[in-house]
Symmetry: C2
Subunit: 436 residues, 2 copies
Amino acid sequence: MTDASSLSALAAAAAIRDGELTSEQLVSDCLAAIDAREDTLHAWAHLDPDQALAEARSRDTEPSRGPLHGVPVGVKDLIDTADLPTRYGSSIHADHQPEVSAVAVTRLHRAGAVIIGKTVTTEFAVFTPGPTTHPLDPARTPGGSSSGSAAAVAAGTIPLALGTQTAGSVVRPASFCGIFGGKPTYGAIPTAGVKLCSTTLDHVGAFGRDAADVAVALGVMAEDPDRFRPTDLGDQPRIGFCRTPWWDELEPATRSLLEAAATSLARIADVVEVELPPEFAGLVSAQEIIMGVEVSRSLAWERQLHGDQLSDQLRTYLDAGESLAERYDDATALAERCRAQLPAVFAATPALLAPSVLGEPPPIATTGDPLLCRAWTLLGTPTVSVPGLTGPSGLPVGAQVIAAPDDDGTALTAAALIAPALAAVTSPPPSGSTTP
Amino acid sequence: MTDASSLSALAAAAAIRDGELTSEQLVSDCLAAIDAREDTLHAWAHLDPDQALAEARSRDTEPSRGPLHGVPVGVKDLIDTADLPTRYGSSIHADHQPEVSAVAVTRLHRAGAVIIGKTVTTEFAVFTPGPTTHPLDPARTPGGSSSGSAAAVAAGTIPLALGTQTAGSVVRPASFCGIFGGKPTYGAIPTAGVKLCSTTLDHVGAFGRDAADVAVALGVMAEDPDRFRPTDLGDQPRIGFCRTPWWDELEPATRSLLEAAATSLARIADVVEVELPPEFAGLVSAQEIIMGVEVSRSLAWERQLHGDQLSDQLRTYLDAGESLAERYDDATALAERCRAQLPAVFAATPALLAPSVLGEPPPIATTGDPLLCRAWTLLGTPTVSVPGLTGPSGLPVGAQVIAAPDDDGTALTAAALIAPALAAVTSPPPSGSTTP
C-alpha cells in the first residue's frame, strides 16, 4: 500500500475507522518519513519510535476514542507531556520530564491521538532559533517559534502538529512552510501545561495540510467542536481585503502577491477593501510591550538561577522587557479599546484576508519577523494562515484569514475557501531576473 | 535570648540586619515552635529542618538581599518549589518534585527569604480538607484552602506564609485564625508556577500577624513595593461599612459583631454605610460558575488518568463544574459589568469594611464557606482579612477590608487602622448562655 504519512489527519482517521489502515502502519510510515528527512530538517526535540509504535498498537486494540483515533500528532516542546521529556528549547531544562500533560495534550489523547514526539521550539518560544530548517531550502528558516511542528507537517512526515502563538509563532511558520496553521479565539483552548510565556497572549494552535485537520484538532483541544465547524458563508461570500497599517513594511513582491490574491479571490467572493481604525496602528508596539513585560516575569526562575544558560539574545530581550513595565497599562488599555471596535470591523464582512509575513522565509539566522501577526494575537481573534502563494524564489508566502472573536468556524471556512484562489496566483519572477 | 519565632517578619528582618539575630537562630526557633505544635496542628506537608537551617546559614554569610533577608516563609503546597516537593494536596502527586520554582517563590528568595517548608493545602486548593487543625481548637478547621499557612502563622510558629485564593482561600482562613491575610489586585502577583485552579480567579496572597508583614511580602512578590506601601488616609478617614447582599446569611452573632465593629470604628473614622449596586448580588453565583468550569478544565490530566485518586467530593465537584459551561459567558459578562461599577462604589470612600466569614470556624469536616469572599475574588479587588473580633466560643471572627483595584496600599493601610477598633469590641456571650 502507499505511504500513509502523506494522508491528511482526517483521511487517516477515516481509513483507520474503516479498517483500511492501522494506527501502527500509519505511525510506522510517519516514522520512516521522519527518518528520511530528519538529518537535514532537525524538526524533532524528542522522538522515541518504540514508544510511539507501542502507543499506536494500543490504539489498534481499543474501540475508537474520538475523531483523531490512531492519528499521530507532533507536540511542540513547549507543551508538557507526561510520557515524553519537555525541554522548552533550553539547556536549563535538558533533563526535564513533566509529571502532568498539558490540558491540550490530555484532550488530544482522549480523542485517540498518538503523541508521536516533541518538535523543536525556539528558546522558550521567544526568538533564539533551534536547529530546524525549512523543508524546501535548508539555508532558510521554517519560521518560529513552532519551528519543528511546521516543518514536520510541511515536509509531509506527519499529518498534524501543535504549536503555540504569543506573537506570531503559529501563523508565521505556517506561512513560511506553505501549510495551514490556526490559532483560536484567545482563551478557547486552555494553556495549562504550556510553559508560560505571556499570561495574556499565549494561545495553543495547530498545523495541518488541510484546513479541516486544523479545525478538528482545535475543536478537540477546545472541547468544543461546534465552534470550529464549517459555517455557511453563502455563494459569493464577502471577504475583506485588509492591507493593514503595516502594508509599507512588506517586501514589494509580497504586496504584489497579496494584490494578485485579492484579484484572484474576487472570482469566487465579493472582495471589499477594509481599512482598520487608526488606533489599530499602535497594536504592534502594544503587543511588544505586553509580551516583553510578561515574558520577563514568567521566566523569573530561569533568569535568577540559570541566567548563564540563557542565550545572550534572550537575556537582552528579558532585560529590555522588564524596562517596559511603565508602559504596560497604556498598552493594555489600547488593546481594550481596539477590541471594542472589532464588531464594527467585522460588521460588513465576516472575515479578513491580510498579509501574515513580509516575504519568503529569511536565512536561518532568525525565525523571521512576527510583525504582521502581533496585532491579531493581542486582539485575540481567530487567525488562520492560508497557503497557496509562492514568492520570487519559489518558496511559500502565506496570508492570514482573520475573523471576529468566537467566530472560529468562519475563519477556518474562509481559509479553506480562499486557499484555491491563492494557489491560482502566478508567482512573480525571481528577484533580479529581467522580463524578456 | 527570647524565642524569636514570635517576632513579626519585619522585626525579625530588622534584628538580622542590625546583627542582633541570625537567620539560623530565627529558623531554629521557628523549627522548635513548629515541633512543639505539629503533632496537633498538622500544618506542614513537607518540612526538612536540616535543609532550612542550611539555607538560613547561607543567608547569614551573604550581604542582605532585600527586605526579607533571613526571614523564614512557609509556602502553600500548591505553589511549586524547585528545592522542595510539591504535592498539591493530592496522592496523585505524592512523588512530585517541581523543576522550577513559582515566580512568587523566586522573588521571595531573591528578597532574602528562607523557604522553610511546604504548608498543607486542601486537595488541589478546592474543598476537601487536609489534616490541619485550628490553633485554638483542634476540633475546628483553620479554614482553607491555605490551611497550613494560616494555622502556622496564627500558632506563632513562623512569621509569614503564602496562600492562594480562588474563592476565599486566603481571607477565610485568616479570618478563622485571627491573623492578617491579604490578596492583591488580580494579576499583581504572577501565578506562574502555582498549580492552576482557575485561569481568571487564582491569586497569590500572604499571611502575617502584622499588616505590614503582609504588605512587604505582597510587594516583594509583585516586584512593586510602592503599590503596597501605606497610603495617607488622613485624620478621621472615611470607611464604608458594607453589609453586602449576603448579610442575612451571617450567623446572628456575627452580624452583632460587625455592627459593634462599625460602632467601635466610628470613634476613629468617618463610617458611612455603603450599599452595593443590585447586580452585585449575582456575583456569588457567577464566581461559582466560573470557578467550577475553569477548575474542571485545569485538572483534565488528573481527571482523565487518575480519577480514582480524586476524592469523591472533588470528582463530584469537577463533574458539576463541567456542566456549568453554558452559563459561563453570562457569568463573566456580569463580572465585567460589576467591575465597571467599582469606581462608583469607591467614589465616596477609599475602603470598605465587610464580613468575611459567616461565623467562628466550623468543625473540622469542612474548611468553612467561602461565600463572603467569592464576589471580591471575582471582582479582583485587593482584599485583606483583619483580625480582632472574637465570637461566642472565644474563637476569632475576622472581617475584610476591600479597596478599589490597584489601590492595594489603601486596603492594607485601612486594615492596620481598623484592627484596633475590632479588638476593642467586646465579644458576645457564648451562644445558649443567658444574660443575667
